[in-house]
């Protein structure tokens, strides 16, 4: 497998040519928050609005036909990309957060009884935590949390212990957006299934970075966001097994998701439309399709390989700095690194980085319980993608060192 040509890839992303405050070149290392967009994705959105824009379905005119074809071919492309059995298993949402809310509400509410358990991990993003807190409150189910080990890996022994017929839902992240840990979801899913539980995988941080195949994983639900995988904002996906979708009640209601409506009742449309109330974001779907095309052309395996090399190099550079503590040391990990530098608050770290044109993130990263679990209120985080290179890792390490010197020297 030949390596990714990062130099050529960078040219596809207009924003990477931007000059930041003080004339600095942009070094974008906030990819876990959102990724930049290649020109082909921006162009797909524009082309949709310039040439094909219309409301989908029910329209007999040519533009409506074209818009419908764009939406449905994007759905088929997503299905193919994630290995779904059929496009009907792909529900378009606004993003991972909405996907998880949909699953928790439309599946969870009917599936849980008081005393049942919902199993999560301590490393969940708020978006895969709060909807289950709400659901637990609503149904009387109990929340249980698979603990993390000191190195940031999941405690699989504890997980095995926690499985029981009481567990009805396991909802877990495929990859932590703070620790970088890639969880052994395949194994977890199999174990949860044996215990009789359904499994939702939060793939917001995994699917953009390596091949994820729902048939191989055998997960029941999978949630992710377009904007974290080179796609536009405002589009995301909930994958679910057909048999579950068929059984689930609708989530939001309104136009497009019905078969027949009377004043006092209605018959729902078939899946996936039953879950897509209102005018869909066709431009977003067009952009997501272009993003998938781009990712596959680059090669998911090559992207993962590239990021593995970057993260190894970044860890090596950062580890060489005194006073630094990397939070998250799991062996199987993606290209997200969180750290704490002695005597330097992450806000100040991010501000110093920004001064050099380097975009990193500071705070609890929407995973407050996790950050607290590892003994902090806030951490600094750098996260990489296919367009990042070793020079950028160097720039990061340099600014971390410079900032540390500044504050240590006080």
């Amino acid at each position: 497998m030949n390596a990714l040509n990062t130099e050529r890839i960078r040219r596809d992303f207009p924003i990477l040519a931007r000059t930041m405050r003080g004339g600095k070149r942009l070094v974008y290392l906030d990819n876990a928050a959102t990724t930049q967009k290649p020109e082909c994705v921006i162009e797909a959105v524009c082309d949709y609005y310039r040439n094909h824009n219309a409301n989908v379905h029910r329209g007999f005119h040519q533009l409506s036909e074209e818009a419908t074809e764009i939406l449905e071919s994007a759905r088929a492309r997503v299905a193919d990309f994630i290995g779904a059995g059929s496009p009907q298993e792909v529900v378009f949402t606004r993003g991972a957060t909405e996907s998880i809310n949909l699953a928790a509400s439309a599946y969870g509410a009917a599936a849980l009884r008081p005393g049942d358990q919902i199993l999560l991990t301590v490393m969940e993003h708020h978006s895969n935590l709060l909807p289950w807190q709400q659901l637990a409150r609503q149904t009387g189910a109990e929340l249980c949390f698979i603990p993390g080990r000191e190195d940031g890996a999941l405690d699989m022994d504890a997980f095995q212990q926690m499985l029981s017929p009481k567990v009805k839902i396991l909802a877990m992240t495929h990859m932590s957006n703070v620790l970088g840990t890639i969880n052994p979801v395949r194994q977890c899913i199999a174990a949860a299934h044996s215990a009789g539980a359904r499994v939702l995988i939060d793939a917001a941080q995994s699917l953009p970075h390596f091949k994820v195949d729902v048939a191989d994983l055998d997960c029941d639900f999978l949630a992710f966001s377009g904007h974290k995988m080179l796609g536009p904002m405002g589009i995301g996906v909930l994958y679910a097994k057909r048999e579950l979708l068929d059984r689930m009640r609708p989530y939001q209601t309104g136009g497009s998701m019905i078969h027949r409506v009377a004043l006092r009742d209605a018959v729902w449309a078939d899946v996936p439309y039953k879950f897509e109330a209102g005018t869909p974001n066709v431009a977003g779907a067009a952009g997501l399709k272009a993003a998938i095309d781009y990712l596959e052309a680059a090669g998911m395996d090559r992207i993962f390989q590239h990021e593995q090399e970057l993260v190894r190099y970044a860890l090596q550079r950062l580890d060489a700095l005194s006073g630094i503590q990397i939070v998250g040391r799991a062996a199987h990990r993606g290209a997200v690194i969180a750290w704490h530098m002695k005597n330097v608050h992450p806000h100040d770290m991010a501000q110093f980085a920004d001064q050099e044109g380097i975009a990193i993130r500071a705070g609890h990263h929407c995973a407050q319980p996790l950050v607290v679990r590892y003994g902090f209120a806030a951490l600094s985080r750098a996260s990489f993608y296919l367009y990042n290179d070793r020079h950028e890792v160097d720039a990061l390490a340099d600014v971390v060192e410079k900032t540390a010197r500044f504050f240590h020297g006080l």
Binding site: E65, I258, H259, R260
Partner: protein, 142 residues
Amino acid sequence: MAFEDLYREVILRHFKKPQNFGPVSDEEATVEDENPTCGDHFRLRVELQGDRISSIRFDGRGCAISTSSCSMMTERVLGKTPSEARAMISEFLGMVQGTCDPSDESLGDLAVLRSVRDFPVRVKCAGLCWQALSKALDKLSA
């Protein structure tokens, strides 16, 4: 031109004067179905005698495409066995969806609906009654 094909004389004739068309009450209906894109509504009454479709009648009206498709369908399947009818259903649906290309002979008049495949939204119109027939046969054989 596909458009002209869509409104060929035979289609219009069936639209104007549908065959085997007449009131089907709620109780008589073997199935009812509707096109959710527009609310068009069909009732179909199918009877078997021995292993043949001995009577078929429909009620409710849709557009030129759905009405003529239904009218032609009723003519075509009358007297056929359920399994012959099922073969016709999949042949017809395959034709309008563009997944197969049956010969004109095997289709008869229905071949005029081939051009529907160029108009994705109309595929539903043309296929509606055929799907209803399929459900009706399921019901009668249950």
